[in-house]
Amino acid sequence: MGKSFDPSLIVNFVPTLIHYLGVTLQILAASVSLGMILGITAAILRVFRIPILNQFVILYISFIRGTPILIQLFLVFYGLPAILLFINIDISRMEALYFVIITYALSNGAHFAEIFRGAIKAVDHGQTEAAYSVGMNNGQSFRRIVLPQAIRIAFPNIANAIIGSLKDTSLAFTIGVMDMMGRGETLIAATAHGLEVYLSLSIIYYAVVLLFEKIFRLYENRINRHQAVNVSAAG
């Protein structure tokens, strides 16, 4: 299998690999942004039970939640060109990176939709009634009162989903994307030091995850700062 373990190689590998972190973050940023649009739209279609579209969204979410991200990746990679060929669009030469972004956007969209739907439902109905009582219409009450509170409720779960998605990007190399993992594979091919490569990759992923967690926690405290702290009396 590999050669004997040489920890000093990690010092060399980490800088080489971190060079490709940008690709990983690019996938994440694009797929989270697109997923957010998709997720909010899908959640609204679900909450307001828009006929047909609601059923379609249910099917979409069920499918994404029902299949591994790897399978989704392969389905988009092999399926999208086939479908688009029907309408005479040839994307068979499109870069693998875009297939990855599309897959992860679809996946994130479904997860975000479920989180947003739960959060919208969790907002107390009294809030909507209060909004009506000061003369707001449906749309105003949703946009100005319900949605901001729902986003706050949803935030911790969204943050978790984003971190999950970051970890999932480690599978993009299976369709040939040259991100950290892809570069890691080539390093192994060149040096036969698999363990050191994966240790280096683990260190980078772990550091980025910890950093994201930290940022999300700070941000969460910020958006919750106007929330009263529950002081419970000792009895």
Binding site: G66, S170, L199
Partner: protein
């Protein structure tokens, strides 16, 4: 490239043969992870000296890195370790006689342990302090209070989380195909490349996973209803 609908069914039947491997790679790690997770959760809750630091690091690292890393680290690392120990003690034992699936199982068990420990921990914490105190007040010791009063409630409340973990690990087992395991995704890959029908094969695999997921959700819903019957009050 056109889609051969009929081949999806052919592929489906072929890939389904790999179902036992997928279930094996899902259930065994969850079972081991259950034990690891419970032990780790208790160590962290009771802040056991020295061990709780290790436990915290373990959970943080395994939850903070992609599962493919765990598989690869064990796949590359464990043989080196075993060969070194083997050479030192003259066992004449070679790591390449160990099937790869064992490394995958080890890695997935460690991942599952980390995720499950968090579920146990939040489940145990969510059972109110008053339950423990009431158990003490009727003369139970900590072990009795834990096993008879707190854990049963914690487990019942955690069923939805267990379902998510089960589904998560069912899907995660697909990663094993990267180290040539012939579970559903691996089988789909083989069917795909021998027949050069990639899309059809992965559609078939997708249906299998989807079906399994829906069945797991249904089962969990049913069990949860039974297990938390005590929580649905009539009055108050």
């Amino acid at each position: 490239m056109t889609i051969d609908i009929l081949f999806i069914w052919t592929a489906f039947k072929e890939i389904l043969k790999a179902l036992p491997t997928t279930l094996f790679l899902t259930i065994l790690p969850l079972f081991a992870g259950f034990l690891i997770g419970l032990a780790v959760a208790l160590i962290r809750i009771y802040k056991v000296k020295y061990l709780s630091g290790v436990a915290n690091g373990y959970v943080s690292f395994f939850r903070g890195t992609p599962i493919i890393m765990h598989i690869m680290l064990i796949y590359f690392g464990l043989p080196l370790l075993i060969d070194q120990i083997s050479a030192k003690f003259d066992w004449g034992f070679q790591s390449n006689s160990i099937p790869i699936s064992l490394f995958v199982l080890t890695a997935l068990s460690l991942s599952a342990g980390a995720y499950l420990s968090e579920i146990f921990r939040s489940g145990i914490i969510s059972v109110s302090n008053g339950q423990m105190e009431a158990a003490y007040s009727i003369g139970m010791n900590t072990f009795q209070a834990m096993t008879r009063i707190v854990l049963p409630q914690a487990m019942a409340q955690s069923i939805p989380n267990f379902t998510n973990i089960f589904i998560g690990f069912l899907h995660t087992s697909s990663i094993a195909f990267i180290v040539s395991q012939k579970e559903i995704t691996g089988a789909a890959n083989i069917v795909a490349s021998t027949n050069l029908k990639f899309l059809e094969s992965f559609i078939a695999a997708g249906f299998i996973y989807w079906g399994l997921t829906i069945m797991a959700e249904g089962l969990s819903f049913f069990i949860e209803k039974k297990a938390t019957a005590y929580n649905r009050g009539g009055l108050q």
